[in-house]
């Protein structure tokens, strides 16, 4: 799963892979357009639905947080 998430991130936002901070959205590493594309790809890849309530800075603070979010939603 982790590999697939990183693959999607690499396609849409390569910078996210090397980003070491914890505020990717507010620092402009990943813009809202890219977030929308990444969410759409993640939904298709893992057959999950990512509600707007999950699309917050906290869940997109870095690549690890995105992986965590996907793992949580897949489990549900």
């Amino acid at each position: 799963m982790e590999e697939k998430v990183l693959e999607i991130l690499e396609e849409y936002c390569e910078e996210a892979l090397s980003y070491a901070g914890d505020n990717m959205m507010e620092e402009g590493v990943i813009d809202s357009f890219t977030v929308i594309n990444v969410v759409s790809e993640l939904e298709d890849a893992f057959d999950i639905e990512i509600d707007a309530k999950y699309v917050v800075a906290e869940n997109f603070r870095n690549k690890e947080a995105i992986i965590e979010l996907v793992a949580r939603l897949v489990e549900e």
Partner: protein, 526 residues
């Protein structure tokens, strides 16, 4: 009640003293009373709009809380996974309906009231309705801070529904969150999850913090009185001038100055609001991060009025894209245009956000056009972002300091074009200015006229010196230096010389009216 008024300073000083004198568990009561007084003094009577908006949000919050509790109880007695899922979906659907209803009613009412300000006087003039009086407008149609507290209330309801924060049971505490006086008239937009913790915790008096808050307040007043209000003399003359007909060069200078005025005025207000709040040991979110250092328009809007941008992104853009309608549109677009279809919902969401942002800022066609202008630029730049790298490579462009400055200048130009629209008195005046900029620049004539448009030669020199000081502070901050800390940690003599120097500058060079009133803050009218 303006921040820069004797009444406000009295309110601030008295509430500050009481705040640290009363038992710490009751500190919030002092803030609630101060906020009530501030608001009632500003509107001149019972704040009907605020009470209705707040009561609605408070009731929705309680409903959502009860619904979450009922869902928990219902799920705890069920064993079947499918049945559990169905029950959960049912509860979630009902909660979503309440959130959408409040969102639509809140935003709809806000936009209607904005246009009512234009429509009602027109109907009055036509004799179709009886005269309503100024009190009706200021208390019912367009009360103080409506654009700010409405969005804050909507954000609260959505956040409770999304389980991002708990609902507030105490109505007075809730109204304090909604109408906290440093932020009620111009923001920043607060999130309940963050501000409530600040309002609820106990606060100890700290002399250094108090000084730091006052320091920030004075810096904000400096930006407002010495820079923004001085520029206003020139800009007001040129845009509201008798008959217009200025050379393009004068218009160019007026627009550049207006860009600075808007920034100094609004960020000055924010410094004052955050400074006042800091003296109460309550931190508010930053609204500006030196936007004129941005290398793209997207970055500019991440640094300018940050809390408004975040509000629209979280509650409009993502809510639309992740809604049933948004998903359907995305699915169809991907089928129809396999390569570029993925961008469709993002484009619609961006345009929706910018149309609403335009309508939120003003009620004229110019603001709508301003919103469309930024929406189109955002969409084009985001869609073409991947291409930029390819083009840069082909053109052998390296991202050094030179390119960085070029990118900043490009951003200024885009903002310049947009600001002509919102500062002009009408679309036809904006058209006249664009024409003069390209076809009637008359630089020599402009140089001769420049000191006869509201600011004298010495006024310009003073303005330039104040702007240089502001630029120096901004450059330091951009390089990661904490200027305020540097000042606080500097030797006492130097520090107090700086404090007295800025206060003296304010008193001697600030722009005051005949009765020592300042010009109204620009964002207060949005």
């Amino acid at each position: 009640m303006q921040f820069l008024s004797a009444n406000f300073v009295i309110l601030w000083v008295i509430s500050f003293a009481l705040y640290y004198l009363v038992p710490k568990k009751r500190q919030w009561v002092i803030l609630a009373v101060a906020s009530g007084l501030f608001y009632v003094a500003g509107t001149g009577g019972l704040p009907i709009g605020l009470l209705l908006t707040g009561a609605g949000a408070y009731a929705c919050g309680l409903y959502l809380k009860r619904s979450l509790e009922a869902q928990k109880t219902a799920l705890s007695v069920l064993a079947d996974k499918e049945r559990k899922k169905a029950v959960k979906v049912g509860f979630e659907r009902r909660r979503k309906r309440v959130q959408i209803l409040y969102f639509v009613l809140g935003l709809g009412t806000l936009l209607c009231t904005k246009y009512m300000v234009v429509i009602l006087p027109f109907l009055q003039e036509m004799g179709l309705i009886t005269p309503l009086g100024d009190a009706f407008f200021s208390r019912v149609v367009m009360p103080l801070g409506i654009s700010f507290y409405t969005l804050t209330a909507i954000g609260y309801v959505v956040d409770v529904g999304r389980e991002q924060c708990p609902a507030q049971e105490n109505p007075i505490r809730f109204f304090l969150f909604l109408a906290y006086f440093p932020a009620i008239t111009q923001g920043p937009f607060n999130r309940y999850g963050k501000l409530q913790g600040e309002l609820e915790r106990e606060h100890k008096f700290d002399f250094e913090r108090m000084l730091s808050g006052v320091q920030r307040f004075v810096w904000g007043a400096f930006k407002k009185l010495v820079i923004a209000d001085r520029i206003n003399l020139f800009v007001g003359n040129v845009f509201g001038g008798a008959g217009g007909g200025f050379p393009g060069s004068i218009y160019a200078l007026a627009v550049v100055l207006y860009m600075l005025q808007l920034y100094a005025d609004f960020s000055g207000y924010m410094d004052m609001a955050l400074g006042v709040s800091e003296t109460f040991d309550i931190s508010l979110p930053e609204n500006f991060k030196r936007p004129y250092f941005s290398k793209s328009v997207a970055e500019f809007w991440r640094r300018w009025h940050i809390t408004l941008g975040t509000w629209f992104k979280d509650y409009v853009m993502f809510s639309f894209v992740m809604s049933g309608t948004g998903r359907k549109i995305a699915k169809n677009a991907k089928k129809r245009w396999p390569g570029s279809g993925k961008h469709v919902t993002g484009i619609i969401g961006t345009m929706l956000v910018w149309l609403l942002t335009g309508m939120w800022h003003g009620r004229t066609a110019s603001y709508l056009l301003w919103g469309v202008y930024y929406g189109v630029i955002m969409c084009v730049s985001l869609v073409l972002e991947a291409q930029y790298g390819v083009w840069k490579e082909k053109l052998h462009i390296k991202e050094g300091k030179g390119y960085g400055f070029f990118a900043m200048a490009r951003t200024w130009l885009i903002v310049f074009v947009a600001d002509v629209l919102i500062r002009s008195e009408s679309l036809s005046q904006a058209g006249e200015i664009y024409r003069a900029l390209f076809m009637d620049f008359r630089l020599k004539e402009g140089i001769l006229q420049v000191t006869s448009c509201g600011i004298s030669k010495y006024g310009f020199l003073l303005l330039a010196a104040a702007c240089l000081l502001w630029l120096a502070v901004s450059v330091c901050e951009e390089r990661g230096k904490d200027v305020r800390r540097m000042l606080t940690e500097s030797p006492m003599v130097l520090r107090w010389c700086c404090y007295y120097g800025v206060v003296l500058l304010l008193l001697i060079t600030g722009i005051y009216g005949g009765s020592y009133d300042t010009a109204a803050f620009l964002y207060q009218s949005f």
